[in-house]
């Protein structure tokens, strides 16, 4: 127990140690976190009227980011499957980085739901009268918290074993890994069911929502990992093999293709049928009755995704910089497609046919940026602590100073903040 507390204490100290780039990066994130907290306090005082949401478009940026991040968290499984089922050694250590990101992404997703609540002071009502299993939102609460605990356990156990120079005992983590694989699929499926189960919203009321969510997540998640591993490879002593990058590249290319195919299937069904259901899709892709607020968003997303897909299938993306460009493009593309392109249009037109458009306000955007900055802060700290442990620089029988010489993930992570 004492050793464990010492371990936690050392990790805590370690997160404050780094070079100038590390400090600059952490400082920048902290500034955005504080701006976000400030904006959220304003929202607490003046209500959700500080957002662009209305009775007509009652979910917006927050729920859009929530959906995207649940997908990013689920995508950690994409790395786990080849390692434990197909015994792909190249990805073995990288799994930990995927799961660490899952932890950060789940925390961000939960924060996005929390800031979307009108009465966060009544959060405990969830514990007192939990409408399970009828409400899909209660399923989401369960699976997200379960997934967070699973990933914390798996990463925490493996890292602590490395710290103690022990070989991890399979009994303590392999069963959890397999549960986590199924669980990862479940978190994004349940999140899709939140929307697809509503008969009053034809745009969401489609069986393809869950598969679409999974496919786009399994493209965006590993793409984010490619970016962060490239940063680690450049700025720390941790080395990532070219083969690992190529395995991830294949995963991203295939998942993105499936995602684009499903988007096409959805669009075909909507537009060829051309029933009353098509109104939201028409608004999204072409505009409706002269209102076209989402048209530039969705075509930007489709353009980015198509170019990224092309790059990923061309040999040129074997070069890391090109691969990184493709990854940034598809992360942005999928973020738009799943957020502004999936959540918002279901509300336009309203069930009574009224068209009210939505754009996030400045305050809402600051809260959103604050949560992203907070998530990246958590991820940076987790990675910063993990690398010296995995590379054997920080162990229980070693002096602390050796570990702190490790260069941490630096300011280049900034690129990802914009993604």
């Amino acid at each position: 127990m004492r050793t464990y507390l010492t371990f936690l204490y050392r990790c805590f100290r370690l997160s404050f140690v780094g070079d100038r780039r590390y400090y600059a990066w952490m400082f920048l994130l902290t500034v955005f976190v504080l701006l976000g907290i400030n904006a959220y306090c304003k929202q607490l005082v003046h209500g959700l009227a500080t957002t662009g949401m209305t009775d007509q478009v009652s979910w917006g940026f927050y729920i859009a980011n929530f959906t995207f991040l649940v997908g990013m968290a689920a995508a950690a499984v994409m790395l786990v499957i080849p390692v434990y089922i197909y015994r792909n050694r190249e990805l073995h250590d990288l799994v930990i980085f995927g799961e660490l990101f899952a932890v950060a992404a789940i925390i961000m997703a939960m924060l996005f739901v929390t800031v979307d609540l009108g009465r966060p002071d009544r959060f405990h009502h969830l514990l007192l009268r939990f409408n399970f299993p009828v409400s899909m939102l209660t399923w989401d609460v369960l699976v997200l918290n379960g997934y967070l605990l699973l990933n914390l356990h798996i990463c925490g156990y493996l890292i602590y074993c490395a710290y103690r120079r022990r070989t991890p005992s399979k009994v303590f983590y392999i069963p959890f890994v397999f549960v986590a694989i199924v669980w990862a699929v479940s978190i994004h499926t349940v999140t899709a069911f939140l929307y697809s189960g509503l008969g009053g919203r034809p745009f969401w009321n489609s069986a393809v929502v869950a598969p679409r969510f999974l496919a786009s997540a399994f493209a965006a998640g590993p793409a984010f990992l490619i970016l962060s591993l490239a940063v680690l490879d450049k700025f720390t002593s941790y080395r990532v093999s070219a083969k690992a990058f190529m395995t991830l590249r294949n995963t991203v290319a295939i998942a993105l293709s499936i995602s684009m195919f499903l988007l096409g299937s959805e669009a075909f069904t909507e537009f060829y049928t051309d029933s009353a259901h098509v109104a939201s899709a028409k608004y999204l892709f072409f505009g409706l009755h002269g209102r076209s607020g989402l048209v530039p968003w969705i075509w930007t997303a489709i353009g980015l995704n198509l170019v990224a897909m092309l790059l990923l299938y061309l040999p040129i993306s074997r070069k890391l910089p090109v691969l990184m460009v493709a990854c940034v493009m598809l992360i942005v593309g999928i973020w738009i497609e799943k957020g502004m392109g999936m959540i918002v249009p279901a509300f336009i037109p309203t069930p009574l046919g009224e068209i009210v458009e939505y754009l996030p306000t400045m305050n809402e955007t600051l809260v959103t940026l604050g949560i992203w900055a907070g998530g990246l802060l958590i991820y940076t700290i987790l990675v910063r602590v993990t690398i010296p442990v995995l590379t054997g620089r920080l162990t229980h029988d070693q002096a602390f100073s050796a570990a702190s010489r490790e260069l941490p993930a630096g300011a280049a992570l900034e690129k990802e903040a914009h993604a």
Binding site: Y9, R10, R13, D19, Y23, T30, L34, L35, I37, N38, C41, K42, L44, V45, H46, G47, L48, A49, T50, T51, G52, T54, D55, Q56, S58, W59, L117, G118, R119, D121, F123, H125, L126, L128, R129, F130, N131, V134, S135, L137, T138, V141, L194, L198, G199, G200, R201, A276, P349, T350, P351, L352, G353, E354, T361, E364, Q398, A399, F400, S401
Partner: protein, 373 residues
Amino acid sequence: MKDIRIFESTSGGPSAYEPELTRRSFLRTGAAAVGGMAALAAALSPLRELTSDEIPDFDQFLQKHYKEMTPAEMELALERIRRKVEDRYAVRPHLRDLKPMEGVEFVYALNLSRCIGCRKCVHACVAENNQSRSPEIQYIRVIEMPRGTLDVEKGNHHYDRPEVPDANHFYLPVQCHQCANPPCVKVCPVEATWQEADGITVIDYDWCIGCRYCEAACPYWARRFNFAKPNLPKEQLNPNMSYLSNRPREKGVMEKCHFCLHRTREGRMPACVEICPTGARKFGNVLDPKSEVSEILRTKRVFVLKEEVGTLPRFFYYFDERYPNTLDPEALAIADRLKAEEGDAYGCLPGAAGPRKDFVAAAQPEWWNGGHA
């Protein structure tokens, strides 16, 4: 790399991870900590604007779910709410918790041949139910529909002309349909909304967490959210109120039409029925075969909106078969009389419930300014 030195050990012993504390490192760490705390305090400063009236007190925080309260606990809760209303509006309200009556299931029927689109129901509802006036929350939406369709997307929500009712249109008022299979109840994560024995779907305003999932689930756009602190002038408060219906709401909770249960559970008509100048609106107990609504369901060709979504509404519409191509001439005559009597004040104006942004800016602090990122 100088920074690292503060964490370097003086010995390789068991306490090697303990950093050496030098004066310089102490000052540096201290300055960073003080700076960080100051920045955090500055970030939190908007919270000072919260009034004590808005922060839930201990009793309210511990208040149980409506269905779990004993009669004694309910009385305490009612007394707390009465005090709060008195503090806020300087009126002692007649507040009670009205239960459903035995053998009653409420049903609504609306004669579309008699609706003249005057929106008097919209405004009577707001006056009755203590909704926020700015931004104004309205439970009823009247849609001006072209003849020959029931596709609401072809309708106009914001009609605002002197020639209402228009000969080429009919008027479709929509409010909560009190569905027998309500999707809004199904999705609520905390059971803050449920269907009562008399068919009315209610909300415990003290239990709602404001996630707005019900608002997304409703196929009739019947639910409303308090995006801002409700703004209800003292002199406009209706002191006749009940726990599950029109007691004043707070910021961040849902509300909706409840068939005026503080009236209807005492045998009176809802405000919208009472005000309707043409008698287009009918309300009553469907379990009583002698009631007017039972008679209408038996004898008229009634229909419900969006039958395909399977929600089984308790809100029925019908057209008068005697007048297939026009509104009921009697209703048209009433409209003419009202226009002559009321002039510019003729109540077909939509009121303040246009798209929220048009007017909410006035109620907002300067920094908000409706500015989009």
